[in-house]
């Protein structure tokens, strides 16, 4: 049985400027080359990311798995432009985001982050939140933006909640709204920083299916950080296991599960084999992180 998941909105494949004739996405290709990040808060160097390189193809769902506080978020922050990097370079669609001479990328609506604890503005209704991007960029007038926001919320099954404040709806709805808020800007890349971390397993599974549905429709590149291996395999095209701090690539596995996927994939033999293949590496890092005894950073 297939549970009907509300369709998430987003530019259809046809309408998407990034889709070429064969339907393969061409936007949102990221190259991370030899990136190193060293913090120097108290005169003591702390290496968060150590010479990390990876290639993310356009339209790929790239999953980064590693223990909490290992430096995965640092990588995401560098792409989003929240933090500088110490050395190396990051390219988006062939353009330099940050690198030598430009340690910090500019923040822009082509790379939108969905945060761990959610960052819907609590002082705006869900519709105002979704409308915020186009409005503040001057793309749409306020009324048009709100109208479009309501439309997209309705497509995501949140039509009746547009006038509610984030504090009044469940965390699942809030997180889904946040993804709508990102998609309305037609971004090249979605950066998700453990967005489902605080959710119970059942809500999480709903969120997964809805994200898969979004991806199937938009083929937007997704950079997804998690510490949940099942989540990584279920959602991803490729899973990168990284080491505990400093963050370094440990193992990369291509996920061969076919798309579109649904929850039944979770009980398939293929899925089990993938878990078996990756589990050892993840567990090893988990033990290292645990033994270092450092306080996790939110």
């Amino acid at each position: 049985m297939n549970i009907a998941v509300p369709r998430m909105p987003g530019p259809g494949r046809e309408g998407q400027p990034g889709a070429n004739a064969t339907g393969g996405p061409t936007r949102g290709q990221i190259s991370i080359r030899n990136v190193t990040k060293i913090y120097d808060p108290e005169g003591v160097n702390v290496m968060a990311v150590d010479n990390c390189s990876m290639e993310i193809a356009a339209g790929e769902v790239c999953m980064i798995v590693g223990p909490s506080g290992c430096g995965k978020t640092t990588l995401l922050n560098a792409i989003a432009g929240f933090h500088s990097i110490t050395s190396g370079e990051i390219y988006l669609d062939g353009e330099l985001l940050c690198g030598p001479g430009k340690p910090k990328a500019e923040q822009g609506a082509d790379r939108i982050v969905v945060f761990q604890h959610g960052a819907l503005f609590p002082w705006m209704t869900l519709a105002e939140n979704v409308a915020y991007g186009p409005m503040v960029q001057g793309k749409l007038r306020k009324r048009e933006a709100i109208e479009k926001a309501f439309h997209m919320l309705a497509e995501a099954g949140l039509g009746d909640f547009g006038g509610k404040y984030p504090g009044e709806v469940s965390s699942g709805m809030a997180r889904r709204t946040e993804i709508v808020r990102a998609l309305i800007n037609n971004p090249k890349v979605l950066l998700l920083d453990e967005p489902y971390r605080a959710m119970d397993a059942l809500t999480k599974s709903i969120m997964h299916e809805s994200l898969l549905e979004v991806y199937d429709r938009t083929k937007v590149t997704i950079f997804f950080i998690t510490h949940d291996l099942d989540e990584a395999i279920f959602l991803g095209d490729r899973v990168h296991v990284v080491t505990t701090r400093p963050c370094k690539l440990k193992k990369t596995v291509d996920v061969t599960l076919s798309r579109p996927r649904n929850y039944q994939a979770l009980s398939s033999e293929e899925f089990r084999l993938l878990v078996e293949e990756i589990n050892g590496a993840v567990h090893e890092e988990a033990i290292k992180a645990f033994q270092s005894g450092e306080r996790e950073m939110a």
Binding site: F121, K164, T203
Partner: protein, 303 residues
């Protein structure tokens, strides 16, 4: 549970959802439960008893038993009969124009001081919380001046500003200015970094961030600050009116003491308490109006 209502939304008609939402919040159920239990509990009766007990003790000490030192303090019967008397023997009651004049003078001073302190303090605090550089330059000066009690400024204020009115308003303004500025600054600093980042991601420029993140995000703290600030303003107003005043409730209290009439003194105290309480309620109501999002979220948490 609420989150469970969503998954089925594919099979449930969407029009069903608002009704579900209304019954959903555990916070509201909790609130309802608390209301019901409190109605069934002895609380209202005990409260009435407590107030009665307090008045009775007060009466007994001052008027009933007429104990040595208490006899100098007017008891509740004397106060209330005087307060509501058409022809007060000591000059002040709700039927005398002078009573309202004192109230009006104090309220006017508070209104000016509070308005000035808010108009200066909120922008200053926003700027101090928002810009690290501005904070670095201005905060030490603020922190150096703040430990000096407002009352210590009295002689200086009298010397710097001529007349009765300006020094009093200056002192009340100064007192609330510190509170408002610091709370606003803390409010900005308490805003989750993620909101700044989210706004940046969505393409907000510096000025947009200020209008859409800094100001609304600090609002709960600002209003907490304003509520404290109006209390502090009353506190220093009374002191200033006592030391250098011409009319006003603080002046009424001290001049009654000096003239040896004790009933207007107590009437002044009680009026002051009531007016002070009332102004802080007004500030809270304005805050709640401006922060629907905050109020609703708190209500769902059962607070």
């Amino acid at each position: 549970m609420a989150t469970m209502a969503t998954p089925g939304s594919g099979t449930t008609p969407a029009s069903d959802l608002p009704t579900r939402l209304r019954t959903k919040p555990t916070g509201f159920a909790l609130f309802w439960h608390q209301t019901k239990t409190s109605l069934a509990s002895p609380t209202p009766y005990l409260t009435a008893f407590g107030i009665f007990l307090w008045f009775f003790t007060y009466w007994l000490l001052c008027e009933g038993l007429q104990l040595p030192r208490f006899v100098k303090i007017p008891g509740p019967v004397t106060i209330f009969s005087e307060w509501f008397s058409m022809n007060p023997t000591q000059g002040i009651s709700i039927f005398t124009a002078e009573y309202y004049h004192h109230i009006a003078v104090s309220c006017r001073r508070i209104a000016i001081a509070f308005f000035l302190a808010t108009a200066i303090g909120v922008p200053l605090g926003l700027l101090m919380g928002w810009s690290k550089k501005f904070h670095d330059y201005s905060f030490p000066i603020l922190e150096t001046l703040r430990p000096i009690p407002i009352l210590a400024w009295v002689p200086l204020a009298i010397l710097m500003f001529k007349g009765y009115e300006t020094p009093v308003i200056f002192l009340a303004t100064l007192a609330s200015l510190f509170v408002t500025t610091l709370n606003t600054m803390l409010g900005v600093q308490s805003i989750d970094e993620a909101y700044f980042r989210a706004a940046g991601c969505l393409g907000a420029k510096k000025w947009d961030v200020f209008r859409h993140v800094v100001v609304p995000g600090a609002l709960p703290y600002i209003f907490t600050g304003l509520q404290i600030s109006i209390g502090v303003a009353w506190f220093s107003l009374v002191a200033a009116e006592m030391v250098s005043g011409d009319f006003g409730l603080g002046y009424l209290i001290l001049s009654s003491y000096v003239n040896g009439v004790t009933v207007p003194m107590v009437i002044g105290m009680l009026t002051l308490g009531f007016v002070g309480w009332f102004t802080s309620i007004i500030v809270r109501m304005i805050g709640n109006r401006l922060m629907q999002w905050h109020v609703r979220a708190l209500a769902l948490q059962g607070r």
